[in-house]
């Protein structure tokens, strides 16, 4: 917290800092118009007055810096509520990192730092000025009007919509980058600006605005996601990445019911996706399926969901007696049993059902009400490829899952789950049907995953046991943990990060798992609540809280119950 003697008067040192930051931001802005390299790399950053890639990113950072630096003075009217000090400090660090990495990129791609042109150096100077200015104002107290700020409704709605559109544009742009350097630098830019704005407490305001216009936000986000295929001009590869991300995200939200709401750690969740996928595959009419019957897809989807839910009930039943990390191991064991059973039901070691390790292949494309998902369709002059068809369908399913999650969360059932998560015995003593709700969480989460699985089977065209190994469960859990347990936005963010990064960064794919493991360790150490923390219901991960410790019995069992 900033100093208590917070006065809105600005000291001389702060004034200097703000000016330095302003100058730095301006330099960054200007640098974008200059040449960064003698070589025409990264979409040709050698041309002046024609900013592309790295230059544009620098200008974005510069623009943010200028806005923040001017917020206490010139823009006081509009942006007076912004907490400029910490924002500028974060931006300074980020901008320095960005320009340094840009120089490194130029050096690597063009062969030596000698190839960096004046623009890049000016950007570096700007970043350093910003860093210095930011350091001077980093303790600047928050303006008194910070939290009371509530703009007119139209301004807020426009802002929300603009942010959705920006997110769409950013996603489309990022996916379009083939150059790993540009991709990384773009992500870094987003990260830097995002962190700076978060430090400047812009998101507090946004959070408020979003809360006041939740429908607009939700619809906007989905509209942006819906429009996404139309920006891709039939690019199959980007759409297939996007579809993978969606399937993954939808499953992760299902898992979030179990882990985030009910607090039951499930390490075998991928098996439910697999159960749905196998049902989808077996009843798909694939030649390698041993069952010839092909019901309409909606029936298959329902069957897949119900079968997964049935498995969920079976896995959930030990929760009557087992909880905590024992439960996690039970679910892990169950997941392995599922995979091995699918592996073995091939006629050699059991009934011929799943075709063993070879899996069920050549699964035909979905066809719902005459709409063939395997064909390209032209809608509004834009060609929608096969992957885009599945993307839109998955988007619909994801929307349903999000709706179910949100509504359950905010109901008697959801409160029951959270109560169980918080203190199982107290919940029971207050009349909450603990066992029933736990089963419901398992079965419900499994159902949603099962439905997603039936679509995945058709999209993947093959279902093999290897797709459903433990590591995939760990990935799902990581998406939930990374994003923020119990949140929707966080889990979607986590899913995007975990699926998108390895697809776009080829050089990185070899190290994907290594970094994944490291990420889990670091997140648990430094930010266990995830990227998007659930402010209202932060999980019990920062257990060292004083007031908490005071009221908690010290025996391990009580801690256990609190999980």
């Amino acid at each position: 917290m900033s100093t208590i003697t917070s006065s809105s008067t600005t000291t001389g040192r702060e004034r200097l800092g703000l000016r330095l930051a302003l100058a730095g931001g301006a330099l960054l802005l200007v640098s974008g118009l200059l040449s960064w390299s003698f070589e025409p790399i990264f979409g040709d950053i050698s041309i002046r007055l024609w900013p592309v890639s790295l230059q544009v990113f620098a200008m974005l950072i510069g623009l943010t810096a200028v806005a923040l630096a001017l917020s206490p003075t010139v823009l006081r009217r509009a942006l007076g509520w912004v907490h400029a000090g910490p924002g500028l400090w974060a931006l300074g660090i980020g901008a320095t990192a960005y320009t340094a990495l840009s120089l490194a990129a130029i050096a690597v791609e063009a062969g030596g730092l000698i190839n960096a042109n004046e623009g890049a150096w000016i950007a570096l100077v700007g970043a350093l000025l910003l860093l210095g200015g930011g350091w001077m104002v980093r303790d600047r107290p928050r303006a008194p009007e910070a939290f009371s700020a509530q703009g007119p409704a139209t301004v807020e709605i426009v802002t929300i919509v603009a942010i959705c559109a920006l997110a769409l544009a950013a996603a489309a742009y990022a996916l379009g980058r083939d150059d790993a350097w540009v991709f990384v630098l773009f992500l870094l830019t987003l990260g830097v600006i995002g962190t700076a704005l978060a430090r400047a407490e812009v998101f507090e305001w946004l959070g408020g605005a979003a809360g006041r216009h939740q429908h607009v936000l939700t619809l906007g986000a989905f509209a942006a996601a819906f429009l996404f295929p139309f920006t891709q001009d039939g690019s199959e590869i980007n759409m297939s990445i996007a579809t993978l991300v969606l399937i993954f995200a939808a499953t992760a939200i299902g898992l979030n019911i179990v882990v985030g709401l009910a607090g039951l750690l499930d390490l075998g969740y991928i098996a439910f996706l697999g159960a749905g996928a196998y049902v989808g595959a077996i009843f798909s009419g694939s030649v390698s399926s041993s069952i010839g019957w092909t019901p309409p897809f909606l029936v298959t989807a329902l069957m897949g969901g119900l079968f997964a839910a049935l498995l969920g009930l079976i896995v959930g039943s030990p929760t009557l007696r087992v909880s905590g990390d024992y439960l996690a191991i039970v679910t892990l064991a169950f997941g392995e049993i599922f995979r091995l059973a699918m592996f073995n039901l091939d006629g050699n070691n059991g009934p011929d059902l799943t075709n063993g390790p070879n899996g069920i292949t050549a699964i035909p494309n979905l066809s719902i009400l005459g709409f063939d998902f395997g064909e390209s369709h032209t809608i509004a002059g834009v060609e929608l490829s096969r992957a885009a068809n599945y993307y839109l369908f998955m988007l619909f399913i994801t929307a349903l899952i999000v709706l179910i999650f949100a509504r359950l969360n905010n109901s008697r059932i959801g409160r029951g789950w959270v109560a169980i998560r918080e203190d199982e015995r107290a919940a029971e003593a207050m009349g909450v049907n603990v066992f029933g709700l736990k089963l419901l969480a398992f079965a419900g989460g499994a159902f949603l995953a099962g439905v997603a699985g039936t679509v995945k089977a058709h999209y993947d065209t093959s279902v093999t046991p290897d797709q459903y190994q433990f590591l995939e469960s760990a990935f799902l859990l990581a998406a939930v943990v990374l994003g923020g347990m119990g949140t929707i936005a966080g889990v979607i963010l986590g899913a995007v990060v975990l699926k998108l990064m390895p697809e776009k960064l080829r050089f990185f794919s070899e190290y994907r798992l290594l970094l994944f493991g490291l990420l889990l360790v670091i997140m648990m150490r430094f930010r266990p609540e995830g990227l998007v923390a659930n402010k209202r219901r932060q999980l019990e991960l920062h257990d060292d809280d004083q007031d908490r410790a005071a009221q908690t019995d010290r025996s391990p069992q009580t801690k256990e119950a609190l999980q």
């Binding site: 709605i157 559109a165 920006l166 742009y173 216009h213 920006t231 390790p357 070879n358």
Partner: protein
Amino acid sequence: MHKRSVISAGALLLATSMTLTACGTRGGDSGGGSEGGGDSGDKVAKIGVIAPLSGDLSALGKGIENSVDLAIKQANEEGGIEGWTLEIAPEDDQANPDVGKNAASKLAGDKDVVGVVGTLNSSVAGTVAPVLDTAKIVQVSPANTGVSLTKGEDAENPSRPYANYFRTCTTDAVQGPFAARYLYEEAGIKKVATIHDKKAYGQGLVESFTEEFEKLGGEIVAAETINPDDDKYDAVVTSVKAKKPDAVYYGGEYPQAGPLSQQMKAQGLKVPLMGGDGIFSPEFIKLAGKTSNGDLATSIGAPTEKLESAQAFVDAYEGGGYSDDYEAYGAQSYDAANAIIEALKVSLKDAETAEDARQATIDAMADVTFDGATGKVAFDEFGDTTTRVLTAYEVKDGEWTDVNTEEFK
């Protein structure tokens, strides 16, 4: 109030996003322009490779990648195809059908790719072939032996499932029986136990082996399976040993076959282990240890080192400075790549872009015929190779030594 704000928000969103994405496109265009320019004015056509470049089977996969690379380099040096430069686009499938499918999607999405060499595993081919078939990209496998890839699921009424799929190796339908005849006729073994890893390749081999072996009058005393993820096969070896076979026929690959052979001998089951081309690798001998002497394998084609047509390949490979051995499928991969290059000579001639030439390349494949490293390369109406020369090898003094080469009839 709510409804109105939502509608106006939607309209606004549409407008904003269109503007923004338009901006994005401009940046993207200028990016694409600078990248396309190579050092010559030639257009680029890529030949993809889908093989396990990491994981247990990476020795084989690297051999495939390097051999294709060699073929492409040679073609470019010889002036290859007028106006075109060939490039290699390797993708790792980790011997996993799912990863393989993603690799295939990636290659299909690359407009420059006109052909693919791969895969190693039949199970991976099951997911790769449909993707490439949809994209009309020719696929030539140097190693898939699963019968159904060319003849369909129904063995009685063969019908070709993927028009784009060809292979330079013979199938299980040839290799299994060849092994059966070798064991029964040459080695005089009448009682055999079979073990396989349940994958398409291993199971297919064992099935065709069993059929032929029993037809010849031999006896299959035990039929077991293992899980390739296991390291320890004690339980299986014990059951097999109790049936007192004179040899064990294993359908699968060397990462399992090596330890299996070693553990068999250590448990006192001192009979030869025989397998298909999947165990024909020096890695097998390393894993199986000293007791592997006497183990047998079949492989497709005549021994590379002994075949005159292959000698040129071996020399070129060794001169190519590759750090990995060409392994079991080097020669077949080299031939597969050359088959695609031969077809491209026809199809790329009149093509504007590489993507346009895809279908024409598939059409041209049917007529390709040349003398490759493994002998004459040509394909029948199913896409199978017309040569059916096989060789049996035996481990002698820690090395694979060929003991019998003949044309399978």
